[in-house]
């Protein structure tokens, strides 16, 4: 189990991610009760059913999933988890930036997968606000040092709408 970092602390995670096993298909898989993060294929196949049955909905995006495909669904969603199967696969940063900056997604944006100390600063900058921090790694130290290795930045991003050159006195 990953350690959920949220709002500057290690938090209890109420969400479970629906795993599709080999025997299951997106159309046939049983939808458990509770706060569930659905893979995109399940969401796309069963959207009406999911919306009708629950208050809070989570979505899981893989690196290759296109934000454009869920752009119209964002109002229904409370959590979007973006998976980093390997931390060196940087597609999720663009996904996050687009969700926040272009599509105005304001719900929880969670980094999941290979989420490590030295990428937290970049993740926070593009718009993540929760982190399924890899189990066995030091979450306390990540909270202390991982989010602010740099006290400022040159570029505009989700966490700072103005580039540094527009903030000069």
């Amino acid at each position: 189990m990953a350690q959920l970092i949220k709002n500057g602390a290690v938090a209890v995670d109420s969400w479970k991610t629906l795993e599709i096993n080999e025997a299951d298909t997106a159309e046939s898989i049983a939808l458990p009760a509770g706060d569930i993060i659905f893979p995109l294929a399940v969401w796309q196949a069963r959207k009406a059913e999911i919306i009708a049955a629950r208050q809070r909905i989570g979505l899981l995006l893989q690196p290759e999933d296109r934000v454009e495909d869920i752009a119209d669904d964002l109002a229904s969603v409370a959590v979007i988890a973006i998976n980093f199967p390997k931390f060196v696969d940087g597609r999720g940063y663009s996904t996050a930036a687009l969700l926040r900056q272009r599509y105005g997604y304001a719900g929880e944006l969670r980094a999941v997968g290979n989420v490590l100390h030295d990428q937290l600063f970049f993740m926070k900058r593009v718009g993540f606000d929760s982190y399924a921090f890899t189990d066995g790694k030091n979450a306390a130290y990540a909270l202390e040092a991982g989010f602010r290795p740099f006290s400022d930045a040159y570029q505009a991003a989700t966490d700072e709408s103005q580039p540094h050159f527009r903030r000069r006195a």
Binding site: V88, R91, D118, F150
Partner: protein
């Protein structure tokens, strides 16, 4: 040149502490080798054959004398007393200890230098023309925009883990000297109807799959360069291939989509970013450009130079026209015969720093041809500069000539190399050690890479040499007709590869064909373009055993 202000200094200092912490965690086992690898690469640190290699950025090639003295100190204190200038405005040290690198970074930060993003799958050091700001053929000084791009690319949160490395080059002159046709993004500054902007070229690159870049936009106003670059990078970050490192550069994506479709996707992305907060302001341009104001030139006018033959040879090869009358840009050759091209000792660095202070406003530049330039020397000082650089072993008059070879570190140092490159360069330099003959041969670019990653830019050498590995033996493939500049193109392979011992003879035969065939005033490339590669090929392979005959010859020996 650019001077750091509070934020620049702060970020570089924080980077030192961040890396110190990462090295500490790696040493104590809290970071695995795989987790540490991209972090150290983005600080210029490779783990190599003999020792780590540490690559220091010289952003767009500009250095001051204080910085060069610091590089001399680092090479002497943490390495073996010399460094190697690369083809992309970097200095490489080949023998540092990993544990020392945080301290080395701290020393660099003291003089406003760093090793940020000199390796790894991120936006690399922005490069330009070594004569920026002084070239007689310059339209617009590219350095302010290069510095603005440096800042924008530094720790860009969205683009730290791209499919592959990403290189940007800017040229502001009529004659492109920044190899812009062979970069991930190549920018040509120009002025159209009184408006300054860029031609934007995307998807060029040398390496394993050499491809000339293609124009995605004929004119982009300078204010839009950051938003447009973000659009290009975002398309690449999302859709570039990640399944195969050899097919992950943006050039492969541009080829797969076709340049029209790629440009369409970039434009569609840019619509959302255009005129947004990342649009550059005149105030920011002016702030940065003020750092590159011309130094206090004296109104001296052109002067008559002494007639001494050796001096005139050096003036002919190693000085470049300056836009200010009475001045010249001087190239110090890091290609003395018999020394690894691009190598320089700590003592030489200190001598060059002193020369820069005395004769060139305390500044110098590094060229992608791996030489050092004193950009603002009074013509009346040239004779003294020549004498002093000669004493330091930096005045070989071979700039643009056969022995002014561009060469990567090759198999002697680099883990990626298939073959050694430096011994080939030195063997050719020894064969052509006669200066009169070198001058008679005239302008010719000979570029050598030890593997298909092409750090020695062999594809764009008039003569290109590529080290290849065949059954664990080192061989060399020869190309002819490559070139940089406005008409940049790739050389053509002439045929089967050669052993290291054959290489000086091969080059000799190629040169002889040229000498015999040239018309008056024809340079090597002109003759080659006129007569084609066949006469060269025939001479080189004449009487050379092939296939079965070669095997039989070997067995007989």
């Amino acid at each position: 040149m650019y001077k750091y202000d509070a934020i620049d200094r702060q970020l570089v200092n924080e980077r030192v502490e961040q890396f110190r912490d990462q090295v500490r965690r790696w040493k104590s086992g809290k970071l695995s080798n795989d987790e540490f690898r991209p972090l150290r690469l983005q600080n210029g640190l490779y783990v190599q054959r003999h020792a780590p290699m540490f690559r220091i950025a010289v952003p767009y090639g500009m250095l001051n004398s204080t910085q060069l003295r610091k590089l001399a100190f680092l090479a002497r204190t943490y390495d073996r007393g010399y460094g190697h200038f690369t083809t992309r405005h970097n200095l490489q040290l080949n023998w540092p200890k990993i544990e020392d690198v945080p301290d080395m970074l701290a020393h660099l930060a003291e003089v406003e230098m760093h090793a940020i993003q000199t390796s790894g799958n991120c936006i690399r050091n922005v490069t330009t023309d070594q004569f920026a700001g002084v070239a007689a053929d310059e339209i617009i000084d590219p350095r302010p925009l290069a510095e603005i791009l440096r800042q924008w690319s530094t720790f860009h949160p969205e683009f730290a883990f791209l499919p592959r490395k990403f290189k940007i080059a800017i040229s502001g002159t009529r004659e492109d000297r920044a190899v812009t046709w062979f970069h991930d993004i190549g920018l040509h500054l120009k002025e159209v109807d009184g408006q300054v902007g860029f031609t934007v070229i995307v998807g060029g690159g040398l390496g394993r799959t050499p491809i000339r870049g293609q124009i995605v936009r004929e004119f982009l106003p300078w204010q839009d360069i950051l938003t447009y670059s973000e659009a290009i990078l975002r398309v690449y970050n999302r859709f570039g291939r990640r399944d195969n490192a050899y097919k992950a550069r943006i050039k492969i994506l541009v080829q797969a989509l076709g340049v029209e479709e790629f440009a369409k996707q970039v434009e569609a992305e840019w619509v959302h970013l255009k005129d947004g907060p990342a649009t550059l302001t005149q105030a920011e341009y002016d702030r940065v450009a003020a750092h590159f104001a011309a130094p206090a030139y004296e109104p001296v006018g052109d002067v008559a130079l002494p007639d001494e033959k050796a001096f005139r040879k050096w003036v002919d090869r190693n000085t470049h026209p300056h836009k200010v009358a009475g001045y010249a840009a001087v190239t110090l050759s890091l290609k003395p015969h018999g020394i690894a091209p691009g190598d320089i000792t700590s003592e030489q660095m200190e001598t060059v720093a002193d020369l820069a202070d005395r004769y060139s406003f305390g500044e110098l530049r590094i060229s992608h041809e791996q030489n050092i330039i004193l950009a603002d020397v009074k013509q009346s000082d040239l004779y003294e500069v020549w004498q002093q650089t000669k004493a330091a072993g930096l005045a070989t008059p071979n700039i643009g000539l056969l022995t002014g070879i561009i060469c990567c570190p090759g198999g002697d140092f680099c883990d990626l190399a298939n073959a050694k490159s430096i011994p080939i360069a030195t063997a050719i330099q020894q064969r052509f050690d006669d200066l009169d003959y070198l001058f008679d041969i005239g302008e010719i670019d000979l570029n050598i890479s030890g593997c298909m990653n092409a750090c020695g830019h062999h594809h764009v050498g008039h003569i290109g040499v590529l080290g290849v590995d065949k059954n664990d033996a080192e061989f060399y493939q020869v190309t002819l007709g490559g070139r940089q500049g406005n008409d940049a193109k790739l050389g053509k392979v002439i045929g089967p590869s050669f052993s290291a011992e054959e290489m000086p003879d091969v080059v000799d035969k190629i040169i002889k064909v040229y000498i015999e065939s040239r018309h008056a005033d024809e340079r090597f490339l002109d003759t080659l373009d006129r007569i084609g590669i066949d006469p060269f090929k025939n001479r080189v392979y004449e009487g050379r055993a092939h296939g079965k005959a070669k095997v039989a010859q070997k067995e007989a020996a």
